[in-house]
């Protein structure tokens, strides 16, 4: 009677290893994580308390702080995204193997992109607040520096995956480098560029909202103030506003995507 072997021996070992590794990781994490039982039992009561204190929402806070802060958040996100787009282009060009043949430059550029991505915008904000002082400047730069890695990586990938045909034609015609970049690479990468830009802008609006927690301007500052005062009804308003902004941005980006991209 013939046996059905679903996986080759090599595959079986691989699968078993993966499961074991995953199990070990989870068990180890569970054991070392500290859970204070009293806090856990308290949790439902605490949560109920939280919601009770958030209602009724303090609408007055809108006029006091939130409206201005919202505008600041919007500009931080948008300006930060624009700066990132501008700065990420040269880095992406350096990182793409087909644009820049030098392996050292590729590596350097890729390192810049990874570092930018690895550090959270919140942490970037901490650094920039230390350098430039609290306020929207720190926030804008934090958004910009974090986004360079995101946009740059996707751009570099788009550049590397580009079909060579049109580029070869330009080279064969004797076009100088800048012309090849402008007329050969740019038209092909343009749709991806705008799509990525829109995607990142959406994410940046969410990120800008929290940067104020470390002093980098925007709604986060209002949120931070409210939290420090333990005015949960003001916190409630901030959360509501953030939620509304996120929804509005999603609607806006879907609309732009379906019409233009």
């Amino acid at each position: 009677m013939r046996r059905w072997r679903r996986f080759t021996p090599a595959q079986r070992i691989g699968r078993a290893l993966t499961y074991v590794l995953a199990a070990v990781a989870v068990v180890w994490s569970l054991r070392t994580i500290e859970v204070i039982p009293e806090f856990l039992y308290d949790a439902p009561e605490q949560t109920a308390d939280l919601f009770r204190r958030m209602w009724p929402i303090d609408w007055a806070f809108w006029g006091e702080m939130v409206a201005e802060a919202l505008v600041e958040t919007f500009h931080t996100a948008t300006l930060g995204t624009i700066i990132a787009l501008v700065l990420s282009v040269p880095v992406a060009l350096l990182a793409a193997r087909n644009v820049t043949p030098s392996a050292t430059l590729n590596l350097l550029a890729k390192f810049i992109l990874v570092s930018s991505r690895s550090v959270n915008s919140l942490i970037w904000a901490l650094l920039f607040v230390a350098i430039f002082g609290p306020g929207a400047l720190a926030g804008t730069l934090a958004i910009a520096f974090r986004s360079i890695g995101f946009v740059g990586k996707l751009l570099a990938e788009a550049l590397e995956e580009m079909p060579r045909g049109p580029l070869e034609a330009l080279v064969a015609a004797g076009a100088p480098r800048p012309s090849i970049l402008l007329k050969g690479y740019w038209p092909q990468v343009e749709p991806s560029f705008w799509s990525v830009a829109l995607f990142r802008w959406d994410i940046n609006i969410r990120e800008s909202a929290v940067l104020g927690l470390v002093g980098a301007g925007g709604i986060g500052v209002a949120l931070d103030t409210a939290l420090n005062n333990l005015y949960w009804d003001q916190v409630g308003l901030c959360l509501l506003v953030i939620f509304a902004v996120v929804v509005a941005t999603e609607i806006a980006t879907s609309a732009i995507r379906s019409r233009i991209i």
Partner: protein
């Protein structure tokens, strides 16, 4: 021959006024926003000066044994937060994603599930971390819970989309054999979407590792707490050490996750 061909049809590169207007608007906006945010060249230059001093205080990174120990504990905790939140997030996202698929579920079920997913995605993990800190206290548990919510928002959404893009004909054939709902899922639906699902999970593990470095700033445990403490104490050389460690770990994680995703293609 029609000689009244318009001049515009003859020009090879007619000026696109809409695009030009958009670029001009963009440039004007940048100037306007810079004004509103008080982003002036002056401030920037002063900041650079400050930045120079700041960077000097960061170099060289603090590599003393005591600090390295703190670093190790913090990074390990971050990794644990990432592992647990991804594991729990995967387990919860599987049913949630299924329930949100409009081609598998009745309307009211899928819309409720989609609402839940949208809620999970609305708030930045930092904000949910703050709320969980209030609910369960400071520490890694709050961070884990916050990232579980973030994971569910991401994985379930993409999973539901993958299911909605699958071939219904293959599923129809399995149903025609008399298989029950779960058998149809196991042999008809999952084989089509599992590769992509694993891809999303690996990506989320990576993302959770990044986010776990930050939830500590608001009390959610992990290296973020260590970083924030060092920052507030002006221990900038230790801050640099931590940053370098974070970059290194995430670089490794990215490479590993890229390989894993390729292996499951």
């Amino acid at each position: 021959m029609d000689r009244r061909v318009s001049a515009a049809a003859r020009t090879p590169f007619p000026a696109n006024w809409t695009v030009r207007a958009l670029w001009t608007a963009l440039a004007l906006y940048v100037l306007y926003a810079c004004g509103i945010l008080d982003v002036s060249w002056d401030r920037f230059l002063r900041g650079l000066d400050n930045g120079d001093r700041f960077l000097r205080r960061m170099f060289p990174p603090d590599l003393s044994a005591q600090k390295l120990d703190l670093l190790r504990v913090g990074m390990l905790e971050s990794m644990q937060i990432a592992v647990l939140s991804t594991a729990a997030g995967i387990v919860l996202s599987l049913p949630l994603g299924l329930l949100a698929a409009r081609n598998l579920m009745p309307g009211w079920v899928s819309w409720t599930a989609r609402g839940a997913i949208a809620l999970c995605r609305s708030f930045h993990p930092v904000i949910t971390a703050i709320l969980f800190v209030k609910a369960v206290g400071f520490g890694a548990l709050a961070g884990v819970l916050a990232l579980i919510v973030a994971s569910m928002g991401f994985i379930s959404k993409l999973f539901a989309e993958a299911i909605e893009e699958m071939s219904l004909r293959q599923v129809e054939a399995v149903r025609a054999t008399g298989a029950g709902f779960f058998n149809v899922l196991v042999m008809g639906v999952f084989p089509q979407v599992i590769a992509r699902f694993i891809g999303f999970c690996v990506y989320q593990l990576d993302s959770n590792l990044r986010n776990s470095t930050m939830v500590g700033i608001v009390g959610g445990g992990g290296i973020g707490a260590t970083l924030f403490t060092a920052y507030q104490r002006f221990d900038y050389d230790f801050v640099l050490t931590i940053l370098l460690a974070i970059i290194a770990v995430i670089m490794v994680a990215e490479v590993v996750s890229a390989q894993l995703r390729k292996a499951f293609q």
